[in-house]
């Protein structure tokens, strides 16, 4: 499946400055793997060492949070759009990681 992936500003240095890239994969994990084959550092930004989606990364498939579907196993169709959104938060009080 060929999908479009929207790249957030802080990751664009890893995609040659591009905000929108094309990638192929049957599910979200495969698409991230395809992106990481061109930019290995991107995998480290998105996935933990055990291959799970990092807490501070949101992924939306056609506007819907993939965590509300099947996460990295969410199946893709031709023409889908995957959007990577950094979680922006903080504050003076320490809180557990989400």
């Amino acid at each position: 499946m060929s999908v479009r992936v929207r790249i957030p500003t802080p990751l664009r240095p890893l995609t040659g400055g591009r905000a929108l890239v094309e990638a192929s994969g049957a599910n979200v994990a495969e698409v991230i793997g395809a992106l990481a084959s061109d930019a290995p550092a991107l995998r480290a930004q998105l996935l933990s060492e055990d291959g799970k989606l990092r807490s501070f990364v949101n992924l939306y498939l056609n506007g819907e949070d993939v965590r509300s579907r099947s996460g990295l196993d969410t199946a893709l169709a031709d023409g889908d759009e995957l959007t990577i959104v950094p979680a922006i938060a903080g504050g003076v009080r320490l809180r557990p990681a989400p």
Partner: protein, 145 residues
Amino acid sequence: MNDVASPTVRMAHGVLSAIRQEATRAYPHEGCGALLGPAPGEVSETLPLPNQEQGNPRVRFTVSPQDYLATEASADSRGLSLLGFWHSHPDHPARPSPTDRAYAWPGLLTLVIAVERGSPGELTAWDVPGPEAPFRQLELRVDPD
């Protein structure tokens, strides 16, 4: 692209005034906003954003994914870059907390402004040079408008 190695952040005085004003308005809650500019380390405007923290907005802030995307689209459509975000620390120093570090992204500036008893105070600038790196303080230079 953002140059996270930029040791200096330049900011128009009007941006500083806008941050101070919004941080004061938000007090005693944490205020927040986006930082946009034409080049890495050159902040030309700030967009105030609602603190969407549902728990305790006096000590935490959250930018919604929708607001993030709208802000980034606004920057992209005008040939600007989303350089980072600022937030306030009500009645706390302008030093990033462990929570701030946990959420910090390489490639995005973190600016922190102290608000003491409702009055804006020190503003500091930080970045993280790598995914596991600690915050690095940057020189903040305010230019006259």
